[in-house]
């Protein structure tokens, strides 16, 4: 689940790859896995497990 929406899990996918797949290109985002904050420098190594609850919170910006 990403932001409470069903997304197909992929084996060996890191956060960076997931963000790429979802086309989440916005620079100001916060990523949490099962409520745990993931620091930006871990995006390219942190793997995602099946059934993980992922939050990708986009800050407001703009306007």
């Amino acid at each position: 689940m990403i932001n409470s929406k069903e997304v197909i899990w992929k084996k060996d996918e890191t956060i960076s790859l997931l963000l790429k797949r979802m086309n989440f290109v916005f620079p100001m985002i916060v990523v949490k896995i099962n409520g745990r904050l993931i620091k930006k420098d871990k995006y390219s190594t942190q793997l995602i497990n099946d059934n993980d609850e992922i939050s990708v919170i986009h800050m407001i910006s703009g306007g």
Partner: protein, 775 residues
């Protein structure tokens, strides 16, 4: 000096130089009135006086700023609302003699310690909406007005011939002078007036002059903006920022004002005389460092300005393309921010007020104009900002140079890029359907992507062309809808649903179809669909943080109240959330940027000597916000029917739009009507469009119910006397009596009832229909 930069003395913008006989132009002035005054010393952010000018009678006088006024209205936009309430009538229209044009400052305006502290808030009765419109703007005029001794400038009446209002803070004198020979278009008149009114012939003296103007486009349309100048000593050119929305420039020219000039004798950076300068400096230093360290990893505003949003909006299907039909487009990468970066003049820090490290005000120097009266001239173009680029996408103009040209002429003609761009995009769609055609458009081939036709339209409009289409089109989408329907040239529903206006004002540049909260962020607003009250698309559509109606209503209460606060103080919103502290993600509510919120509390307290907290900060906004809504109701609008939005902003109007997002819509429809997806996929597209249509219209009404209740209004969107008293307006008897009477009338007309149709598990916001009585 930073490596790669060079001295401002060495820089030549390379623009066309003008040869004017300024002495002759100045000598043609006739002084109509002169007013000498004692300049108040600014104390804790306030000059404690406002300036009143009547152009019909040539009266100039001062009005006191009382403690009661500060308590109820805080400053800035709040003061503007108070001055308007005291001056206009419910039936005042934009061109009425008594309509006020108000320029306000705010207690923090003019500070240099905190970035973004040079904004003015301008208000008037708008030609587009017939209610009060507020618009914020950078540039030096607001701060200089305050340094001249006034918290606000209020202009009533109309001059008989073109005039200049000159506020001379150096000699403490104000003059109204006839101005027969000056240019009208902004890039020329602001330069002429800067040279004419600067005390000496040098760059520093010119920097102490600021001019408000609007061009020929403002005279001949409802889209007039106010251009506020700031003299750029490096480029040696009068740069400009716009109060764009709602036709304020149209009112300026209707009053026959060619320019308002403010001149200050000195500028030290601490004119605001803060109560606690150390605290103001401390909080400012922190954010300045944050911007310098982090902007490049976040929004990159210092390099490309707000245009950084173009590629993001395209990626998230939110960039308005071809009149908001689509949210992305294959050609969009041609207008991504880097394409403009290539044109921007770099190496010069570009703030629109001193002390703004964010410095997002970019320019294209030495731009060679391609069309119209200035063809072949080389000019400095301010921008383009995201909204203007978004207009390019909306009109299907995929060449950065075309967008820069559009930007230049909108600015110098004094018209709002947003309203004109959004409106032209609509006319283009009508053209595509044959509802408009070359003949009906006065010979213009107004098809999507036709840059020449867009420019011809602007030039003919600014020129006062009397062709029927040009005249109606220049008044905006609302008037064109009525015109097309009166001619019976097309399907009335299609004409209504596709034109992106609400309350008579054109939408700004975001696609909202998939975010109900953002539909409310545009529709449930005071002045009309501008995103400065709430920008909730990510929170709603991407993050899924506000899934219920109650959650959305809470966001549509909090964010408009918070964002209103910038305008009460003379601040720019951008340094709030276009940069964020490195640890923002670890806070409880990152979307509110809690550390910056605390900064603002500390900053206002440090300057004014008040002792507010976060909650009181919101309360300051809530007072002004509710007063403005009540003012709208008093003027016959500001009710549920006025918060209507066109269906194009809610969902797919046409089958083409449905098909472009078929997977998404089919899935939603399967949930709505509880049928298997396979069955939905086989359904006729036209039928599906209709089903989605009815569902989404109702969702919007249910949202409105929840928002009205959260804001303390009746189901018809009217602020209640109970609410107004809670906010501290207990002694404003005239307003309280009016609201009580209005609510009673609504009761008799059956308007105090829920707007949404609730079914199944959906619950009304309250069991009590008259919930607002017991508060």
């Amino acid at each position: 000096m930073v490596k790669g930069q060079f001295s401002w003395k060495d820089y030549d913008a390379g623009n066309t130089k003008h040869e004017w006989d300024l002495q002759k132009i100045h000598a043609a002035h006739k002084v109509l009135t002169e007013f000498k005054y004692d300049k108040n010393k600014i104390e804790k952010g306030f000059a404690n006086k406002t300036l009143y000018i009547n152009l019909t009678t040539n009266e100039i006088k001062e009005k006191p700023v009382t403690d009661d006024m500060k308590k109820k209205f805080t400053g800035g936009r709040g003061f503007g609302l108070k001055l308007l309430w005291d001056s206009i009538q419910p039936d005042t229209r934009w061109n009425s003699e008594e309509n006020d044009l108000v320029i306000t400052t705010g207690p923090l305006c003019g500070s240099t310690q905190y970035p973004g502290s040079g904004k003015s808030l301008c208000l008037t009765v708008s030609p587009s909406t017939n209610i009060v419109c507020d618009s914020n703007v950078g540039g030096y005029f607001g701060p200089y007005l305050k340094f001249c001794g006034y918290d606000a400038l209020e202009i009533q009446g109309k001059a008989k011939e073109d005039v200049i209002i000159a506020i001379d803070g150096e000699a403490s004198v104000i003059r109204i002078e006839t101005a027969p020979l000056e240019e009208i278009n902004t890039h020329l008149v602001s330069e002429q007036l800067t040279y004419m009114y600067s005390s000496k012939d040098d760059e520093r003296s010119r920097q102490r002059v600021s001019v408000v103007s609007a061009g020929h486009g403002a005279e001949n349309s409802y889209w007039g903006c106010l251009n506020f100048s700031f003299w750029d000593i490096r480029r040696k050119v009068a740069r400009i920022k716009q109060a764009g929305r709602g036709g304020l420039g149209t009112v300026l020219r209707d009053k026959k004002i060619k320019g308002i000039v403010a001149r200050v004798d000195k500028f030290t950076g601490v004119e605001n005389a803060p109560e606690n300068p150390e605290a103001a400096a401390k909080v400012g230093t922190k954010i300045q460092k944050e911007i310098r360290d982090l902007d490049r990893y976040q929004c990159n505003m210092r390099q490309v300005g707000t245009a950084h949003l173009v590629e993001i909006m395209d990626a998230y299907d939110l960039l308005p393309c071809e009149n908001y039909r689509f949210g992305s487009f294959p050609k969009a990468p041609k207008i991504y921010s880097m394409k403009f970066f290539e044109n921007f003049t770099r190496v010069i820090p570009d703030g629109c007020w001193h002390g703004c490290t964010m410095a997002c005000a970019k320019t294209v120097d030495s731009f060679e104009v391609m069309t119209g009266p200035y063809k072949g001239h080389k000019v400095t173009v301010d921008g383009p900002e995201y909204e203007t680029v978004g207009c390019g996408a909306n009109m299907s103009l995929w060449d950065p140079k075309w967008i820069i040209e559009f930007n230049f002429y909108c600015d110098t003609y004094g018209i709002d890029t947003i309203s004109s761009g959004t409106a032209i995009a609509y006319y283009m769609e009508m053209f595509e359907y044959g509802i408009l055609n070359k003949e009906r458009c006065g010979g213009l081939e107004l098809a999507f992507g036709n840059f020449d036709a867009v420019m011809q339209f602007l030039h003919r409009m600014a020129d006062g062309d009397t062709n029927e289409f040009i005249k109606v089109a220049a008044k905006g989408i609302r008037r064109v809808k009525d015109w097309l329907k009166s001619k019976n040239w097309g399907d009335h529903q299609l004409i209504e649903d596709t034109g992106m206006e609400s309350k008579g004002l054109e939408y700004s540049e975001y696609v909202t179809k998939e975010s109900l909260a953002m539909q409310g962020g545009y529709g449930l607003t005071l002045k009309g669909p501008q995103h400065d009250e709430a920008w909730l698309i990510f929170m709603d559509m991407v993050n899924n943080q506000i899934p219920t109606f109650k959650d959305k209503a809470e966001a549509l209460h909090y964010f408009p109240m918070w964002r209103t606060w910038f305008g009460l103080n003379g601040l720019c919103k951008l340094p709030w959330n276009d940069v964020e502290p490195a640890n923002n993600a670890e806070t409880d509510e990152p979307s509110k940027v809690p550390e910056h919120l605390n900064n603002y509390v500390e900053y206002q307290n440090a300057v004014t000597g008040w002792n507010i907290n976060k909650e009181e900060l919101i309360l300051q906004s809530e007072r002004a916000y509710n007063w403005q809504r009540a003012l709208n109701v008093w003027m016959g609008r500001g009710q549920r029917r006025d918060d209507w939005i066109p269906y194009r902003s809610m969902g797919p109007v046409t089958e083409l739009e449905y098909v472009s997002r078929q997977e998404r819509y089919d899935k939603q429809l399967a949930e709505i009507i509880n049928k298997p997806l396979e069955e939905i996929e086989k359904m006729d597209v036209g039928k599906k469009v209709k089903l989605v249509y009815h569902h989404r219209q109702n969702q919007y009404q249910i949202l409105s119910d929840a928002v009205y209740m959260r804001r303390g209004w009746t189901q018809n969107g009217v602020p209640t006397p109970v609410k107004m008293k809670q906010l501290g307006f207990g002694d404003e008897q005239k307003m309280l009596d009016f609201l009580a009477k209005k609510i009673q009338e609504d009761e008799e007309n059956g308007l105090n009832d829920w707007g949404g149709v609730y079914s199944g598990s959906e619950e009304k916001p309250s069991k009590e229909r008259r919930y607002w009585e017991s508060w």
